[in-house]
């Protein structure tokens, strides 16, 4: 089935670059958040609880075990800050997450979005790419769409 976001209305595809192969009814979903901004994680957890199907947010205290934790908990979506501090190889983490936990869909999250980074992360197997410069509504919608099996690229332009 070839579907376009344009089928949903004239403005649907304008700002969000959304692609969907199979749009399913919303299922219960959990999110693992790999980000060094604790305020963001706290706020995201509070906001996600407004979504009826949201079951819980997993935090990562130790980055070195994040893939192990994901493999055990199998979150629906892994929100991965690609600009992790301290010289952490986030792209390597992305690769390992995709290889070891393929059922968890990785949504790349960044404060430094670029077309090149979209290419590098999406071609490695990320399900989405979201700039930190977008609105909170669009961030939440992106998470929900990835849960539904859509790929999402949200830049602030």
């Amino acid at each position: 089935m070839y579907s376009t976001d344009m089928d949903r209305g004239p403005d649907a595809g304008k700002r969000a670059v959304v692609a969907s192969a199979h749009v399913q009814t919303p299922a219960p979903f959990s999110v693992m958040c790999i980000d060094d901004n604790v305020q963001l994680i706290d706020a995201l957890e509070r906001r996600l609880h407004l979504e009826p199907q949201f079951t819980g947010l997993h935090r990562v205290d130790d980055l070195s075990t994040s893939v192990d934790v994901a493999a055990r908990l199998r979150p629906s979506v892994v929100l991965l800050d690609i600009d992790l501090p301290g010289g952490i190889d986030a792209l390597g983490l992305l690769d390992e997450m995709i290889r070891r936990v393929p059922e968890s869909r990785v949504l790349v999250f960044t404060g430094y979005p670029s077309g090149e980074l979209v290419r590098r992360t999406m071609s490695r197997g990320a399900w989405g790419f979201v700039s930190k410069g977008i609105s909170a509504d669009r961030l939440i919608a992106s998470i929900c769409r990835v849960v539904e099996g859509q790929a999402v690229i949200e830049l602030e332009d």
């Binding site: 070839y2 089928d7 509070r46 071609s123 930190k132 410069g133 909170a136 859509q150 790929a151 332009d157």
Partner: protein, 364 residues
Amino acid sequence: MSQSYFRIELPVESQSVPDELPHEDRELHRLQRVAMLGTLASGLGHDLRNLVMPVLLRLDVVSASPDLPEKARSDLASIRQSILRLQRLASGLRLLASDPFDQRGEAQLTSLHEWWQDMQPIVIDALPGKTVIEVQIARDLPPVAVPPATLAQILINLVLNSRQAMGQEAAPRLWLHASVARDCVILDIRDNGVGMDAETRARCFEPYFTTRAREYATGLGLSTGRALLARYGGDLTLGVEEAVGTTFTITLPIRGTMAVGDRRERRRVRLLIQDPRQLAMLRLLVRHRGLVELPATEASHADLTICDPEALAAIVKAGQGTTRNGQGSSGDIIAIGTPPDESAEPAVRWVDPRDFSVLDDVLH
């Protein structure tokens, strides 16, 4: 329009370049300072974003409370507006900090109306507080083929020139006016400053020519701006001499269009791709190149069809081929994948799904 949102006072005086240094060293010193400011702006923009997102998320949570008094709801809406402004400022800083000479991986098109939303707080802040800014940039202008960051840096340079020219003006005024010519958008930037004398008008595009103290200017702004625009088929010119002020005109080419009679129409693309990730990336490329995406199921004429091998097989079977004018035709065809047989469909261009960068040239 005159309030100041965010102001960073940099200790420029204390970092003055020693006079005894040779000219080349002084230039190097200045360039290092410019680079440092770029890094600072980029870091500040990043930090602002990190701070803004949690606030927006919390605002959503509070606003969702059903028993909120109307007054509180109105306060929350105002807070949200201010925060969104801050987010725009962060986006504007990012545009200014980006390297204008290397925008290969970035959006190649600028929607001027949205771009101005990002630029506005920075332009306001770059001018004296009493400056009135009049802007006419229509929402429905076609996207122009110059990256947003490149255009941002050219504009801010012109605005800083205007700031200097309007230094003694009691009622400083800046006009930004965009209009469509045949295959370009013309952006005029006019101020009511002191204007230029004959020598300055003649030499202003010369590299290193400046009327400002060397301490504060490199004399490269206008020549660099013109060179940057030339890369994209655009131009920067000085308007005719007027009694008051100076006008600069930025000519911005429109791309993703083709001539139809005496009009230009945007190219229409149909994406027949099942893989969600490929589709999302292709959709981004199509949008960044200013092309119009047709619904996958609509039987209208496309100038270009990008499809996967399954869809290609269906197109070939239906006999639409690569004709450009038939009802519901596919136009040029790009298939994403590995060609099954070299001789199967010679008119089809195949693109490796692991490297969409080649599509940049095709879609331009």
